[in-house]
Amino acid sequence: MTEIRWHSRAGQGAVTGAKGLGDVVSTTGKQVQAFALYGSAKRGAAMRAYNRIDDEPIINHEKFMLPDYVLVIDPALAFTDNITENDKPTTQYIITTHLSKDELIAQIPELQDKKERVHVVDCIQISLDTIGRAIPNAPMLGAFVKVSGMFELDYFLEAMKRVLSKFPQKIIDGNMQAITRAYNEVN
């Protein structure tokens, strides 16, 4: 079982990202679960989304999890939300920020002993450049594909094209660029 926790603000697309990831994972024959825990259910409020991935049907419906991956798609939440909650010695962090990895870790005491498990990427800037709006979910998926090694980039891009097929070509192209750029830029 692989468990993923997204830290986001309502409106940034964490639920769509989690569902999109679930959609792609299901094409590999695996079982998925994607759900969210809304706080005050207002746009801009901190919220969390979750994925579970397994070879067996997933019958666990609890919200509690020990995440293998923590994906932070809002830069401020790395500072204000408890992103290391219930983590494991192996939990990998992917955090969106304009800071360098060293600058970020220097400001967040909880991450200081996890340096080798922290990855940074500027999902906000990438989505502004490629999609034209601050929708950091697609770039985070690209970064996740790289860090997890769960898919080949090309396979993931093809599958995402199908997930996004109801959108105009321009949006699909923007998302493909966003995923690719984040894949290449995450470190």
């Binding site: 679930g22 259910a41 666990n60 509690f64």
Partner: protein, 413 residues
């Protein structure tokens, strides 16, 4: 003709979308609906299907849930296949009309996304609304995950519309935990699904002007009782059709349903009786306990909350040592309804085969029910079983913060 939709053999859908797809595939004639969280996406997606030409039927937007169910009653009496969706306060507002629908024997399908009842206001899942419907004369099917929400919605039409049933059917799923959790779903194709549900065969339809009929007539003490007894009998006897539809569905899909689902009960000593997603979480807990601690734990779960599987409960639980009935609804001044009904069934088996019975109130307003807590409850039942009596209050609260709350002790002489 409605457009067909190309579906993959595996889709990733949440419970709401799964229910909306089942409604579309059944080609409902009239959906009259007023959206409410967390069932809003059922209505929203269905409206989308209508607007995009995937449904031939009518979609009626109304001003309240009372009007929604009233519209459904009218359309069903007119002779159409009819469905709607609701939750919580919306369900509460429908209640008056729910009794009308079942009394008129109108096979309406209501997809209920279970949510807590205010106050305090809360949009998350518990079974308060499902329990509110339990005397309303509807068949109540309960889904434990999104796949089942899809399957049971398709089957609901076939069960309710059967000439030997002719009763409205609710399909329950847990708010957010099922309704907003996407998982792998294996849908039928549009053609397969519709072939399974079949064409609607109206009975005593009001639009047949050559044969005028009356719906909702007044019957005082001369006939009211006979009508209600007949209706009760139809609901009690509906199990025959339910079993047959479950069997037909299994033949088509390989997915097996029973009115009382049982898991690992062959050699179980302790069990949890539950509804909704808790059933699956408890299965996971029981598997782990069997492996890790050798506790013979099992799960018993009514798939049909109504008709209540009285006989099956007696068979499944006879000879067990200790059973916890889990109620996700606050009984307010009594033991939980599931506890009472299970105990009612067990009262008629020999005393030496009757398990110790405890009651847990849990998960109100969406409070998380974890695998860890399910394991703790199983262990506690094992503890009662080992000493031969209930060592805690009979009714307890699981997952409640603050001082422990419990009611009624076992008197030991």
């Amino acid at each position: 003709m409605a457009e067909k939709m190309d579906l993959q053999s595996t889709e990733v859908w949440d419970g709401n979308y799964a229910a909306a797809q089942a409604l579309r595939q059944a080609q409902v004639d009239v959906v009259a609906a007023y959206p409410i969280t967390p069932s809003t996406p059922i209505v929203e997606n269905y409206g989308n299907f209508v607007a995009n030409g995937y449904v031939d039927g009518e979609f009626v937007m109304v001003e309240s849930e009372h009007a929604a169910m009233s519209g459904c009653v009218g359309a069903a009496a007119a002779g159409g296949r009819v469905a709607t969706a609701t939750s919580s306060q919306g369900f509460a507002l429908m209640v008056e009309v729910l009794y009308q629908a079942s009394g008129m024997r109108l096979p309406i399908v209501l997809t209920v996304v279970n949510r807590a009842l205010a106050s305090p206001l809360n949009v998350r899942g518990d079974h308060g609304d499902m329990y509110l419907g339990r005397d309303s004369g509807w068949i109540q099917l309960d889904a434990f995950n999104a796949q089942e929400a899809y399957d049971l919605t398709l089957m609901a039409f076939k069960i309710g519309e059967d000439i030997n049933v002719r009763l409205p059917v609710m399909v329950h799923q847990d708010g957010f935990i099922t309704s907003h959790t996407a998982q792998n779903i294996h849908p039928l194709s549009d053609d397969e699904a519709y072939a399974f549900v079949g064409d609607y065969k109206p009975v005593d339809e009001m639009l047949d002007f050559s044969r005028p009929v009356t719906y909702g007539a007044q019957t005082e003490e001369d006939w009211h009782f006979e009508h209600k007894a007949k209706q009760h009998r139809a609901l009690m006897d509906s199990y025959v059709v339910i079993d047959r539809v479950f069997e037909e569905f299994e033949k088509k899909t390989g997915r097996k349903y029973k009115r009382l689902e049982t898991y690992m009960m062959e050699d179980a000593e302790v069990a949890i009786v539950a509804l909704g997603t808790t059933v699956e979480t408890a299965i996971l807990a029981a598997k782990q306990l069997r492996e890790e601690e050798g506790i013979k734990a099992g799960i018993v779960a009514p798939r049909t909350f109504r008709p209540f599987p009285f006989n099956e409960i007696r068979e499944a639980l006879a000879g067990l040592k200790c059973v916890a009935a889990m109620d996700r609804s606050c009984p307010m001044g009594a033991m939980g309804a599931l506890y009472n009904e299970v105990n009612g069934a067990l009262a008629s088996i020999p005393a030496d085969q009757r398990p110790l019975m405890t009651n847990f109130i849990y998960g109100l307003g969406g409070r998380d029910f974890s695998v860890k807590e399910a394991k703790r409850i199983f262990r506690e039942q094992k503890g009662h079983a080992d000493v031969g009596y209930i060592t805690t209050p009979i009714q307890q609260f699981s997952g409640l913060r603050g001082p422990k709350l419990g009611f009624y002790e076992v008197k030991r002489s």
